[in-house]
């Protein structure tokens, strides 16, 4: 079924002679450019916010310097000082926004109980968020398949309806060859537009062409390969243009619109995450109940986690900062299990989505692309882990000062810990992750092969 070069050239010219292909591919390219622009705007918003964090921090510390001009207890200063932590957008975030438009780019934390500070929503317009992000991943997952199907569904049916199929069969040296040439040219055109958009994005957003970027492109093209196989089945199985168009529409609607939405709804219902509310309510209750409990209880819990302070003098008065922060720790410790369950449940839900993704290629592709870009749920959960680690670093810095009842003057504040994010990175991932998507292409490819052979055996 290998088509000759001449045949490919001829089919390419034939494709662009009709206006439909030019218009469809042009619209795809235009949509892609809008997507690149829109995703870039969203990510730029995050970059700008992050770039201004040092200024916001400096302004806060300047205000505090006015309040504590003569110095203040380390615990008192720490009560007011918020520290920014942030998740710099990875280079590929402009290609797959993933969940970034929903989640905060920066989280400000202070020495108080961490669990009450971790889960705030970002500041976004929910009315726009509900429309969905318009990024290149969406173009590759939803629009490109539509264009591909529109261009390929009548590969054979049109000629058959015109009665020129036998002629084409003879001239091209076999129907299989003709079919392959036409399919290849159309899929190639769609892939070329997507690759072109990728190249534009890479040079426009100055994305380094590393393993992750190439893996992103590879996954995108693999997804198009799956759809080429779907398109081959539609084109080979249907007897008339009406039928092939209807089949193409049904396949697209099912795989891109209905099944992902149904999958999402099913997963939400199957994996509820009630720990969120439970965690917030319990943490507050524990922290505040400590005010009415003997201080030894609070300290016992604190010393279990930080034994190095075990031999410090007890608090006899009504209030001491070291007791206050031991109390805050108690609140976090009481919900540590809930917090772990919460993250584990989110991961279980994501894992279930991944397991089912090979049934619905656009979902599989979305997951892969946002993972490559480092904009998926896992990336955010890992960011929260880093925030936890930074909060721990804050404790290690302030505890010695607080237990020493140290007075801090503004001049000493420059030594406060600063959050250092790791260099943002996408992930090139392993070949194993692509297997489900590749497997999704296999079935339809074989089916198409059989169908075309049967058709070419009986030229009508």
């Amino acid at each position: 079924m290998r088509p000759s070069l001449d045949l490919l050239c001829w089919e390419t010219r034939r494709l662009f002679r009709t206006g439909t292909a030019t218009v469809a591919l042009g619209l795809l390219a235009f949509g892609g450019l809008v997507a690149l622009w829109s995703a870039d705007r969203e990510i730029a918003r995050h970059r700008e916010e992050i770039a201004r964090l040092p200024d916001f921090y400096a302004a806060q510390m300047q205000r505090l310097a006015g309040q504590f001009a003569d110095g203040g207890h380390a615990g008192y200063v720490a009560y007011y000082a918020f520290f920014p932590t942030w998740d710099p957008p990875p280079a590929l975030a402009g290609l797959s926004v993933g969940l970034r438009d929903l989640l905060p780019a920066a989280v400000w934390v202070r020495l108080l109980g961490l669990e009450a500070q971790l889960y705030e929503s970002g500041l976004g317009n929910p009315g726009l968020q509900s429309l969905g992000p318009f990024d290149l991943a969406f173009v590759v997952c939803a629009l490109a398949p539509l264009v591909l199907l529109l261009l390929t569904h009548d590969l054979l049916t049109r000629d058959r309806e015109r009665g020129v199929l036998p002629l084409a069969h003879v001239q091209s040296g076999g129907l299989g060859r003709l079919f392959a040439a036409r399919l290849l040219v159309r899929a190639g055109a769609v892939a070329a537009v997507c690759t072109g958009l990728f190249v534009i994005a890479v040079s426009w957003h100055r994305i380094p062409m590393d393993g992750a970027a190439l893996a992103w492109l590879g996954d995108a093209l693999l997804h198009l390969l799956v759809w080429t196989a779907f398109a081959a089945v539609v084109a080979a199985a249907c007897g008339s243009t009406g039928a092939s168009l209807a089949a193409a529409g049904t396949v697209w609607l099912g795989a891109v619109v209905v099944l992902p939405a149904a999958l999402n709804l099913g997963l939400t219902a199957a994996f509820p995450v009630p720990e969120g509310l439970e965690l917030t309510v319990r943490q507050r209750q524990e922290t505040h109940a400590g005010w009415d409990r003997p201080k030894e209880e609070t300290f016992a819990r604190f010393f279990a986690a930080y034994p190095e302070w075990r031999d410090t003098p007890p608090v006899t008065g009504r209030f001491a900062w070291k007791w206050y922060y031991a109390l805050q720790h108690g609140g976090d410790a009481a919900v540590a299990a809930s917090a772990r369950t919460y993250a584990a449940n989110l991961r279980a839900r994501a894992a279930a989505a991944e397991r089912l993704a090979w049934l619905v290629p656009p979902v599989g592709a979305q997951l892969l692309l946002s993972r490559r870009a480092g904009t998926d749920l896992e990336a955010h959960l890992e960011f929260l882990e880093r925030v936890r680690a930074f909060h721990e670093a804050l404790k290690h810095y302030f505890h010695p000062l607080i237990f020493a009842e140290a007075e801090l003057k503004p001049a000493a504040w420059s030594a406060f810990p600063r959050y250092q994010p790791p260099a943002p990175a996408g992930s090139a991932g392993s070949w194993l992750e692509r297997l489900p998507l590749a497997a999704a292409a296999l079935g339809p490819s074989l089916a198409a092969l059989v169908l075309v052979r049967r058709t070419s055996a009986l030229p009508s």
Binding site: R41, L123, G132, A262
Partner: protein, 472 residues
């Protein structure tokens, strides 16, 4: 039998006898039933959980031991976002906003645990709600059932014959439209049943107002579908072949249902972009500091407060006041913070509304955006319902914090302030947080443009049909 009636009847019979008709109706009903069932289930679960925690939080509030009132103000409470009246049918923006807000003194916390942020990114392809099925998928059913309605006849030469036999073109068109509408009736009925089920079973819906809201959703959806019906008729009347009519209609559907909404959202997001969360917090903090700094003894606002308070009671020192001066400072500080927050929060919500207005203007090009906005507004799950909740939560926060400050002022002595406690019996007197969703009139304010856009999408193809008539 008049030509209109016979054409309508024939068309209807042709339609329902098609093999694909039953398959389509079955598939549509299954998908819609699935979406409605899970929609009701999800909202019900959400409401049960909220009720449980609201009761628990109330119990914890009332059960507080003897405490210093400012301790109680920091203990705070939670506000739970109520489930919108028709959230089971159209969840609107509900998944995209935090569900619970911690209310405490001095600080306006953002809502926590937005559902959407906790999902895998694959879900960004869409949320399968009954509204999604009716507003986005049902127009496709109209297209699939109707694209051949005139184009087939023309291709087969029957149209020429019919017109030559003296069938009035108007009756022909009206008959075809009526036939198609009859064929669509079972689909519309299924949709209406899903809507009614959401009103009856949905946890947020209460009373007659919910039925009125349901009626408005139905009106918007009906208008939207009528638009697609006439559009399909017009395309079928004009296209050279049925396949071309189908291709054109499906392309239009994808453009106005999938591509344009996202494009509109992308453009609206830049008109102008919202401040980042850190920027919002930094601006707010700077403004609160500028308005008055309780920690600065030389601050003019608090110096005047001190002067006036002393003068009112005719004493020279705050220690001699019959009330607790610390609490008076706290209350004034709370006022300033709340004032600054209200101003900044309003600026952000206004900006969101401006962005939303861009999307509403885009509805003139994409009727899906119009019906979507109307449906969410009538369901009480739109942006406005959300900001109403946020405002109510802030008002409640302010009122209980100030009530605690008043107790602090009157019942706690200035000297050795923090060591004193107030009897636990005081806490039960505080009202629980309760918010009503926006009234129907509020929900509908400003939606005239969307109704007009839907009407325009119905009128345009009608005018087109009127002008082209039936080409043989």
């Amino acid at each position: 039998m008049s030509p209109f009636r016979s054409i309508a009847r024939t068309e209807w019979q042709l339609l329902v006898r098609r093999r694909s008709y039953g398959v389509l109706l079955g598939a549509f009903s299954v998908v819609l039933a699935f979406a409605t069932g899970l929609g009701v289930l999800r909202q019900d679960r959400e409401l049960q959980q909220q009720r449980r925690y609201q009761a628990l939080v109330r119990e914890q509030w009332v059960g507080q031991p003897d405490r210093h009132p400012h301790r109680v103000a920091h203990y705070g409470t939670f506000a739970f976002k109520p489930v919108g009246p028709l959230a089971a049918f159209d969840p609107g923006v509900e998944s995209f906003s935090g569900r619970v807000q911690f209310l405490e003194a001095h600080r306006q916390n953002a809502a926590n645990f937005a559902e959407a942020g906790a999902l895998s990114s694959a879900f960004r392809l869409g949320e399968l709600s009954p509204a999604f099925v009716v507003h986005l998928l049902l127009p496709l059913v109209v297209i699939v059932l109707g694209y051949r309605i005139l184009a087939d006849d023309r291709e087969a030469g029957r149209l020429r014959l019919l017109l030559a036999q003296g069938t009035p073109p108007g009756a022909l068109l009206a008959g075809k439209a009526a036939g198609l509408a009859l064929g669509l009736a079972p689909f519309a009925t299924t949709a209406a049943i899903a809507l009614a089920a959401s009103v009856v079973l949905g946890p947020g819906a209460e009373g007659a107002a919910a039925w009125i809201r349901g009626g408005l959703v139905a009106a918007a959806a009906g208008l939207h579908l009528a638009g697609w019906l006439t559009l399909t008729l017009w395309a079928s009347a004009r296209a050279a072949t049925p396949v071309r009519a189908l291709g054109g209609l499906v392309t239009l559907w994808a453009a106005v249902g999938i591509v344009l909404p996202r494009t509109a959202g992308a453009i609206a997001a830049t008109q102008p972009p919202l401040p980042g969360k850190s920027e919002f917090a930094a601006q707010l903090a700077a403004e609160v500091h500028r308005l008055g700094d309780a920690h600065n003894p030389g601050d003019p606002v608090f110096a005047r407060l001190r002067r006036e308070t002393l003068a009112r009671h005719g004493v020279d020192r705050v220690e001699d006041l019959p009330v607790n001066y610390g609490a008076i400072v706290m209350a004034r500080g709370e006022e300033l913070t709340a004032e600054a927050f209200a101003r900044h929060f309003s600026a952000v919500t206004e900006q969101m509304e401006r962005q939303e207005a861009v999307v509403h203007r885009a509805a003139w090009f994409a009727p899906y955006l119009a019906v979507r906005a109307l449906s969410a507004a009538a369901s009480g799950t739109d942006l406005r319902a959300l900001t109403a909740f946020q405002r109510a939560a802030e008002a409640y926060r302010f009122s209980f914090v100030q009530a605690l400050n008043a107790l602090h002022r009157d019942k706690i002595r200035f000297t050795n302030d923090r060591a004193q406690r107030l009897a636990a019996s005081h806490w039960a007197a505080f009202p629980d947080f309760h918010v009503r969703g926006p009234a129907l009139t509020e929900s509908l304010a400003g939606t005239a443009g969307c109704w007009a856009a839907l009407a325009a999408w119905l009128l345009a193809p009608l005018v087109g049909l009127w002008r082209t008539g039936v080409r043989p």
